[in-house]
Structures are given as C-alpha cells and as structure tokens.
C-alpha cells in the first residue's frame, strides 16, 4: 500500500566494489578525454579529477524506486539523455542483477501505483498531459518490465472503504470515471528491478556507486585555498560543484545532487533543510497473505486504532497494511501464525456492529435531486472482504510519521520522494507523490537545459519546489485529516463520518472528484 523505506544493510561486497571503482575511473577518464578538446590549459585540473574524484552532472543519492524513476525519466527525455549521472546507493540489488522468479515469495512491501504513475511508466504521452500537464515526449518504458512480473490491476477495481461503526461505506469503481483501472499493486522489488532494467537497457551515461554518502560540501571553504596556481584554478573550477564524499573513499563532484534517500535523508540533514512533522502513535503491520481465490478488489476498513487495508497482488495473494497502536503491533508480530490469521480476519470483517447496508437511510433516493447521473458503483452493495487462509510472508512493523521538508531546493541540492515528505500510508499515496516529484524534476531540468541554464542553479530548482510543494502539502493535509478524523471515537463524530461516507458514495460529482484526486490528478477532491 505504501512504500516503506527499509533501512538497508550496508553490505560491503568488496570484490564488486573494486571492480566498480575501476570502471568508474575509466569512465571519468573517458569523459575527461572527450570534454576537453580545445582546452589544453586545464590539463592538470582534469588530471586531478581522474584520480579518485569524478565529475557528474547529476548525483542521485538513493537508488530506491523514486531515485531510479528519476534516472529513467532523465534517460528517456531527449534534452536530458546526455547527462552524466551517478547513482549512490549501498543496496546490492543495484549492482547484482537478480531475476525475480514467478515462484519467489511475494515481497511484503508493495506500492499502489495510481493511473498517473502508470502512464508515467508507460510514457503514455496524452494521458500524462491530462494528468500532470506535463510534457514528456518519450516513454520511460518501465511498465513493460513490470508487466512481466506479478502485479495486480484492481481492474474492475473497487475500493471498499467503510467505517467500523457499520454506519457508512463507499465504493469506487473505475467505470465511475470512465477508466479501466483505479490503480495497480506492484511489489516494490518488481517496481525497482523494472526501473533498473529500463535504465540498463538505455544507453544513458550512468555510474552506480554501491556506497553511502558520508558528507557533502556545497561551497568549499576559502580557507583551504592552495598557494600554487594549479590548485587555485582547480578550486575555482570545483567551487561551482557540490562535493560528495562516499564511504568507499570516492569523491564525486556534481552540478546537481538529488536527495532521494528516503525519510531519514542524509542529503536533507547535510544540507540543513528543516522539517515539520509529527509521529503518529501508530505502527503499521505489513505482510502478504493468501486467499482461496483471486481477489480484484482493494478493501479498506477504518477501525478505531487505524485503518486496515487489503490490496490484491495477483495470484491469490493480497497485501495487508494494518495500522494499530505500537503495543498491539508488537503482539501481532510475536503471536503465532494461526492466531495472527484469526485476528486479521476478525479485524477485516467482524466486531463493532453490523456491516453497512446500501439501503440504510434510503440514501440513493436522498441524493437523487443532485442529478440523474448516478455513478455505477452507487448501486453496488457492500461486499465482505475475502477470508485470509494463510500468511505468505514475514510480518514487518514500521512506525508511522508525517514529515515534510520546509524547503525542497537550494543551490545544487534538491529533495524528491520521501526525503521531502513522508505521509500516512492510508491511501497508498506516498510513492506516487514521489513519482510526481521525479517527473516534475526531470521536466524542469530539461527546461533548464533547453535555455542553457546551469542545472544546479537555485532559481531553476526553486521552480521545481514551487510546483511540487503545494501538491504534496495538499495531499498530506488530506491524509492527515483522515488520520485525525479516525483517531477519535466519539458518538457525534462517528455519525458525521458516516454522513461523509454517504456523501462520497452517493453524490456523483464528489465521488468522481475523489477518484480523480486519488488517481494522481492534481486537484482537490472538491469542485
């Protein structure tokens, strides 16, 4: 449902690293050789670059799905495909190509990708313009790789969201907005390896550093000025680049550093961007479960302790994202499997009163004055989620928090994805906001290149911030509002919530707008 940034173990595959390093210096030598035709003067400077420090146009710190999506997007946009990009991530999956086999156990971490993201991946030009007002002329082409693996469109997809009090429910159908799908659930490892394949099959100049970022210098201090002329020149040359020091001893210089390193972003910390946010006193329990038959519907039930969601993953598998208070999450992790499945089924279906009924309040009639164009799903009745028969993966527990960087951009540095914003997983929007960031950034970098701007120029990067911040803040506010509305169990409020559900279920324009907003069209769910 959401993307959880697992703190990756720094696996230090020594042999691999050495091999990589050789490759890197070769690359740098090549770059140096090609780029200094007609400037013999800077020979010494180039020499010093070829040793252990390399120059790049863009350094993406964090090769997770959002960082890789940015790389893919840059690789496929005509204006940016000639950029020289470094990707810094200690995740061994980036260097070692392991195929994902169909019979492999499903990854408990999944992402719900919205139609906007799907068209970003497919490079569906027209749809993209409709969704983002964006102009990407070539596909990033990662979707074809995803389609080779397990994924599940919620095609006849219905999202059943209901209140535990049994007073209200709402059901969305893709056909309400004349679309085929409302989204697709993809395992994170599938998403990641698809983006990696996409990148590796392009002739993009990229270097992957299986390493971690130690420190970053944006403006080298003038106190370290050398006395001799060569070092002075070198200093002036490097002054307008950000310097990154990596844990494997490599030093990189880049015009633009992209922080795509997740919620605990090192780039954000090193740049000194402040964040605003709070911890929800909630943990999410994530696991994969198996049913007796295939499921095509996504379900979400709002329980007093937090929402529980069941997302179809294809092949009878579903993903569970269950939000609860920290003590209960510990119990859930420690209890045995049968017990857990039993508790899970109970949480999905029972307790807290009857199932909501479509006829309660005679609601269809009540809102009929709003127009005859009743949405298809308004007449569909409540469905009980399918029974879980067994657990298919380990149970993972993540604490939940909201965090938003006050700034996304400064000279040479920009934040994307979870590094800029972490949200509550309740509508699976986190990773989609991140993809939105990647798309916007690559477009703005292309715009900058078109008019010959330095891509580390702060005025250019602020344009990205101005575009993404309002969209992200809006989504965060909506999700946080949901979370807050459900953290109180009070009679009148429960009725209010139920009324809201009825509104969302039966008022056609409201419903369409909610679906559009959740699909990644950047509008408020209100007209």
């Amino acid at each position: 449902m959401n993307r959880f940034v697992a703190r990756r173990l720094c696996v230090n595959v020594y042999g691999l690293r050495v091999q990589r390093r050789n490759l890197c210096s070769d690359e740098a030598a090549k770059v140096a050789a090609t780029s200094d035709s007609g400037q013999k003067s800077n020979g010494e400077v180039k020499q010093s670059f070829t040793n252990n420090d390399h120059q790049y146009d863009v350094a993406i710190v964090g090769g997770g799905v959002v960082g890789m999506a940015l790389a893919c997007s840059l690789a496929t946009t005509p204006l940016t495909k000639n950029l020289n990009v470094a990707i810094i991530d200690s995740n061994p999956a980036l260097v070692k190509r392991d195929c994902i086999k169909k019979e492999d156990p499903p990854d408990p971490r999944v992402s719900t990708v919205t139609p906007a993201t799907i068209s970003f991946f497919k490079g569906d030009y027209l749809t993209l313009i409709a969704y983002m007002g964006a102009l990407i002329t070539k596909d990033i082409g990662a979707w074809q790789y995803i389609e080779q693996h397990r994924h599940a469109y919620f095609d006849r997809m219905q999202v059943m969201v209901w209140d535990y009090t049994g007073l209200g429910y709402t059901r969305y159908n893709a056909r309400d907005v004349n679309k085929e799908v409302l989204g697709c659930v993809v395992e994170n490892k599938v998403l990641h390896s698809s983006l990696l394949s996409c990148l590796q099959n392009s002739d993009f100049r990229k270097t992957i550093y299986p390493s971690k970022l130690i420190s970053m210098t944006l403006q080298p201090s003038s106190s370290s000025t050398g006395v001799d002329n060569t070092s002075a020149t070198a200093l002036f040359t490097k002054r307008h680049l950000a310097k990154l020091e990596l844990s494997d001893g490599n030093n990189l210089y880049a015009k633009l550093v992209v922080g795509a390193d997740g919620g605990k972003s090192r780039v954000r910390e090193l740049t000194g961007f402040k964040t605003t946010g709070w911890n929800y006193s909630q943990n999410a329990v994530i696991c994969t479960v198996e049913h007796t038959k295939e499921n095509h519907c996504a379900w979400q039930r709002f329980l007093p302790a937090g929402p529980i969601a069941l997302l179809p993953m294809g092949d009878k598998f579903s993903n569970i994202v269950w939000t609860m208070n920290p003590e209960n999450s510990k119990d859930c992790k420690s209890m045995n499997e049968d017990e857990f499945v039993q508790t899970l089924n109970h949480a999905l279906d029972y307790g807290y009163g009857p199932h909501p009924k479509s006829s309660s309040w005679g609601a269809t009639g009540m809102f009929s004055w709003l127009g005859r164009d009743v949405t298809i799903s308004a007449n569909e009745s409540f469905e009980v989620p399918p029974k879980v028969v067994k657990l298919a993966s380990e149970r993972m527990v993540f604490p939940l928090s909201l965090k938003h960087a006050n700034e996304y951009a400064s000279k040479h540095v920009v934040l994307i994805g979870d590094a800029a914003h972490t949200v509550h997983p309740l509508a699976g929007q986190g990773v989609n906001l991140g993809f939105g960031d990647s798309l916007a950034l690559s477009r703005i970098v292309a715009e900058g290149i078109a008019v010959g701007t330095d891509i580390g120029e702060v005025s250019l990067l602020k344009k990205y911030e101005a575009e993404r911040k309002p969209a992200n803040v809006m989504m965060m506010a909506v999700l946080d509002g949901f979370q807050k509305a459900y953290s109180v169990d009070l009679g009148p409020l429960n009725i209010l919530r139920a009324a809201a559900f009825h509104g969302a279920q039966y008022i056609p324009f409201l419903k369409r707008n909610i679906i559009s907003y959740a699909s990644g069209e950047q509008r408020l769910p209100l007209p």
Partner: protein, 307 residues
C-alpha cells in the same frame, strides 16, 4: 498627493549609496576608452586564467563575479529575464538554422558573437551586459561563442566566471568593439546584441556593423526598450529609482528605439526582421514571459539579406 509621495521616495533613495557601486569602485580602474584604443585580440581563452591574472586579482574578480552571477542576489530580476530571452533566441534560431529543438546542444557547429557594450557606455555600468548576457547558456547549447566588450575588467571577470564550468570555458572573450572585430574580417552565423543598442551613440551605424559581422543568411538578434510612456515608467522610474535593479542614469529615455525605428534601421543595414516579441514581468511570481506586447521590452530576430 501621489507625485508628492513619489518625490519624497526619490529624495530618500538619492541619499542611499548605490549598492552595486560599492563593490565596483574597487575594481573599475581601467577606463573604457583606453581599452578601445589598444588593439586587443586578447584571446584570454588560450591561456589558463592563472597565467593572465595573478592569484589576488583572480580572487577579487571572482568575488565580484559571484555577486553578479548570484541568481538570488541583488540582480535577481535581471537573471530571471535571461531564460525568457533565451527561449526566444533558441526557438527562432533552431527554426532558422533547421536544428533539432529537442537536442540539448542544438547549436553545435555554429559560431555566435555576443556584442556587449560596444559603444560609449559608462564604465561603471558594464555589469548588466555581461551578467545577464546569453553567452554562457548559448555555449551550453553547443554554439562556439565569442563575447566582446569594450571594458577590459569586464572581460576579465567574465573569463574567470566562465572558467568555472568546463562547458562555458570554451567561450572566447575579446576586449574589443564590433567595429574592431569587423576590421579583423570576422564573420558569425548569428550576431546577438541584447540591451546594447540603447547605449550606443549611433544605432544606425551600430546596426550596419552587426550586419557586416553576420554571414549571408545568418541571423541577428537585438533586444532593447521601446520609447513609450510605459517604458519610461517601467525601465526608468520603476527599475532605476524605485526598485534599484539598475543604477540611476543607466538609461536615457530619448535614446530608446521604437520597434518601427529598429525595423527600419535594420532594413537599411540589409537585415530583414522576421519575428518580434515582447517581455512581460509578473511582479507576483517574479518571472518574465514572452508576449505580444512590445510596448516596454522587446526582442527582434532578423536575417541578413544575401547580396
């Protein structure tokens, strides 16, 4: 009521030191005239900056350059204008030279000259032409760029700054004038003179020099300010006296050219103006955009008629 307020405002501003004169005063040692007389095909480009400038000078110029080129610094609105002008230049020149607009370096193989303050511009006011000059962006777009300026310190500062980026270190800077360049029989595929013509003594002669520098069927791009009431209010009263984007006295309203006059003098210099656009500033977003309104700032693209 309003004029009185305005007067008070102006009186107040007059007492304040001009922010750019402060850091210019310690470098503006070379008067522009002396440089004109020395015939300097001063191709600093072939030397490393350290050989032509000593280290102290380098540091000093670099400090000035940093302030000028800081896009968030005192000249922010002027910097903001550059991408808009370049968008116009890029699209018209891509079409004219039949280059792929989706390429990152569409002007590869073309030679451009950016004519700085060619005529008798005040020596203190050299900052605007180099700071917001389109040379560096054009060099990033693949063009072989030559930048000329009559003020030697200008050229040095520009050199230091261009060397910071390997992509722009190929720019050739010359301390010379358009006329001098002409004597050297230099020709360029495109000649660009942005916000310069309003500072030259004889615009018609200047246009003739520009035309002679252009190869037949080459392109000429000129931007300037219209001689309109709105331009007086915007470019002189607002930009110089109220907002302090430019030092007072930068522009003389009487030396501005109307678009009709520009088209005419270019025609006489055998350049056909093919396209014209205006610039519009949005004070809320701080962004410039291209528009059809040419009543204040405007840019013209023309082609040289082959003889």
């Amino acid at each position: 009521m309003f004029p009185k307020l305005l007067m008070r405002q102006l009186r107040f501003l007059r007492n304040r030191p001009l922010l750019n004169l402060r850091f210019l005063s310690d470098t503006s040692t070379t008067p522009s005239q002396s440089c004109n007389s020395t015939i300097t095909p001063n191709k600093l480009h072939n030397h490393s900056p350290s050989s032509s400038l000593n280290y102290l000078e380098l540091a000093k110029f670099s400090a000035i350059a940093d302030t000028w080129w800081d896009s968030q610094g005192p000249f922010k609105p002027l910097h903001a204008m550059n991408p808009t002008r370049l968008a116009f230049i890029r699209s018209t020149l891509c079409r004219h030279f039949r280059k792929d607009p989706y390429s990152a370096r569409p002007f590869e193989g073309l030679s451009f000259v950016d004519v700085g303050c060619g005529g008798g511009i005040l020596s203190e006011l050299f900052l605007s032409s180099i700071t917001i000059s389109p040379m560096k962006p054009l060099a990033r777009m693949g063009a072989t760029v030559t930048g000329i300026d009559a003020v030697e310190n200008n050229v040095k500062i520009a050199r230091v700054h261009a060397d910071l980026d390997p992509e722009t270190s190929t720019i050739e800077y010359c301390c010379t004038t358009a006329e001098k360049l002409l004597e050297e029989q230099r020709k360029f595929d495109a000649v660009i003179a942005l916000e310069v013509i309003e500072h030259v003594a004889d615009p018609a002669e200047f246009c003739k020099s520009l035309a002679s520098l252009t190869v037949p069927n080459g392109a000429t791009v000129i931007s300037t300010i219209n001689r309109s009431i709105r331009a007086y209010a915007a470019a002189i009263v607002a930009a110089e006296y109220i907002l302090h984007w430019l030092p007072k006295g930068t522009h003389q309203w009487s030396s501005f050219l109307t678009p009709e006059e520009l088209v005419l003098i270019l025609k006489r210099a055998s350049i056909n103006v093919k396209q014209m656009a205006g610039f519009e500033y949005n004070p809320l977003t701080g962004r410039w955009s291209l528009s059809d309104d040419i009543s204040v700032n405007f840019i013209a693209f023309g082609t040289k008629i082959p003889r």
